[in-house]
């Protein structure tokens, strides 16, 4: 299974730190799966101009194609102005409408204040649902105080990340099973 962990911000370190933590958990606990970290800060991505994602060049093509090839996606997002950052929304805008069909998507969110704890419910999940993702219901909400010098220091967050990673993999395996069972019913 191909799993992509996407750090959806180009500034700061919290989202990247959390995404990297998810990647190490995946690598330790599920070495049989193919895990890729896409940190948007490392790429130069164009704004969506209506083209098909594979018609772009360079980083835009690389990042969108890597996401489209994934079976499961863990999205790391900061909270900007009570929503996801434009850099992450641009990734969604670059992809086709049903981009997340047959993909499991889970979320790790960082924020400067606990007041944003419903941001994922209100802002991100509707987009993922529209794009046909199998959304993992729970997400990990991480605050400023949970980090110290680019490391997660709150054990609760670490345990929750471990459970999120497990839920993501198990959900993806379950949906793969459903799909296989359904496909076996069709004779074309």
């Amino acid at each position: 299974m191909k799993i992509v962990v996407l750090a959806g911000s180009i500034v700061g370190s919290k989202t990247r730190t959390a995404a990297a933590a998810a990647v190490s958990l995946l690598k330790d606990n599920y070495p049989q799966h193919d895990v890729t970290l896409l940190d948007l800060a490392e790429y130069s991505i164009q704004f969506s101009d209506g083209r098909n994602y594979f018609e772009y060049d360079g980083d835009t093509k690389l990042v969108t194609e890597t996401i489209m090839e994934a079976d499961a996606l863990i999205i790391g997002t900061p909270t900007f102005q009570a929503s996801i950052p434009a850099t992450l929304k641009n990734i969604f805008d670059l992809l086709p409408v049903n981009a997340f069909r047959d993909k499991v998507v889970s979320t790790i969110v960082t924020a400067g204040t606990p007041k944003h704890y419903l941001m994922v419910e209100q802002q991100l999940k509707p987009v993922l649902a529209y794009m046909k993702a199998h959304i993992v219901p729970t997400y990990v909400f991480i605050e400023e105080k949970d980090f110290f010098r680019k490391e997660i220091v709150n054990d609760d967050i670490l345990f929750r990340l471990e459970r999120l990673v497990e839920d993501t993999v198990l959900t993806a395996e379950a949906f793969e099973g459903i799909r296989q069972k359904k496909d076996a019913e069709y004779d074309f």
Binding site: G50, Y53, E55, P96, A99, R101, D183, F188
Partner: protein, 351 residues
């Protein structure tokens, strides 16, 4: 309907069209050479004519996986190779061309074919042509409206005086050659949502509507909106023909049709759109109420009659070569259309 060469007394027209796909056959991974593909299209038009199919269309798409970028040239060859079948573009991306040149080309095809040429003008659903031919996508909406208006004017007036934003003005210009009977049927190609159907209605121009899949009833709104807009703008909707188009695959049995079409449909979608066609959705497609034309001959007939009742269209256009369908399968489709589908269709839809 007369000026658009449509005779409702003959029943609904059935046509075939191609975008000149050059997609590898997903079953073999092989792709026929462009030259062979173009000859196959000309051959398919001849076979279609023999099978009693009314129309043959070729469209342009300026990017990988296509081969009829110069669709008017291919249509010219088809005009020469056939005698009775109507010849149309499907579609001409008018926004990237000069309407004067487009009219000259199609008037010439009309002369070669003895009055069988038609234009279907569209904006194109892919942006390749815009980048290649240097047309700014910012003007996507306006450039098409202006060019379609000019094309219509050229068709209606002997000498054209015109001024616009995207082309130098015309001063009492005579556009030559003139088609056999002085005018060409010109249609507007319309995608799913009603917005551009409404524009077609306001212009009082025949509409060719794509209904690629999903519930057929969803497209009824566009047809109704088209006729309503036409009426509002002072046109009589009963004089304006409507055509619909869909992807098409017929076989002796439902199972054969599904098995025959799926790999091509799925492979084609992956190549063109970057995501395949969901099997679950495809499994629903043979249902009479679904717009995707896949099934046995009887199922296709029922779909067409159901849609005819819904939309009251004068023409249906089938795309039978999407996703690297090999020529022997295309021939088999044409045979079934000619032998079984067209006789039933004409019988039940003739006024």
């Amino acid at each position: 309907m007369e000026q658009y060469r449509i005779r409702p007394s003959d029943g609904m027209e059935f046509g075939l069209y191609s975008l000149g796909d050059l997609i590898p056959n997903p079953l073999t991974g092989e792709c026929v050479p462009a030259q062979q593909r173009i000859h196959e299209l000309i051959e398919a038009a001849k076979l279609a004519e023999q099978a009693g199919i009314d129309v043959f269309g070729v469209g342009e798409s300026h990017q990988t996986y296509f081969t009829t970028q110069a669709h008017t040239v291919v249509l010219g060859a088809i005009a020469q190779a056939t005698n009775n079948i109507k010849i149309t573009s499907s579609a001409t991306v008018l926004s990237v061309s000069d309407p004067v040149r487009v009219y000259e080309d199609f008037a010439t095809i009309d002369l070669i074919s003895g009055g069988r040429a038609e234009i279907v003008a569209g904006r194109g659903s892919r942006v390749g042509a815009y980048h290649l031919l240097g047309v700014d996508l910012q003007d996507y909406e306006e450039i098409f409206e202006e060019k379609l208006e000019l094309l219509k004017k050229i068709n209606e007036e002997e000498r054209v005086t015109w001024q616009g934003e995207f082309r130098p003005p015309l001063q009492n210009a005579q556009i030559l050659p003139q088609p056999v009977n002085g005018t060409l049927p010109i249609w507007r190609a319309v995608g799913g949502p009603p917005a551009s159907a409404i524009k077609a209605g306001h212009t009082g121009i025949p509409m060719m509507l794509t209904t690629l899949g999903g519930p057929a009833i969803n497209f009824k709104h566009s047809v109704d909106a088209y006729r309503e807009a036409a009426e509002q703008s002072g046109f009589d909707p009963t004089t304006l023909p409507v055509a619909t188009t869909s992807l098409f695959y017929v076989a002796d049995t439902t199972k054969e049709a599904l098995q025959g079409m799926y790999p091509h449909l799925n492979g084609g979608f992956i190549a063109i759109r970057g995501a395949g066609y969901p099997k679950q959705q495809f499994a629903q497609a043979p249902d009479t109420r679904d717009a995707l034309m896949v099934g046995s001959t009887q199922q296709i007939i029922e779909k067409l009659l159901y849609q005819h009742e819904l939309y009251g269209m004068q023409r249906f256009m089938a795309q039978i070569d999407f996703g690297g369908v090999p020529f022997d399968k295309i021939m088999k489709n044409i045979e079934l259309i000619g032998n079984d589908i067209i006789p039933a269709l004409k019988k039940y839809t003739a006024d």
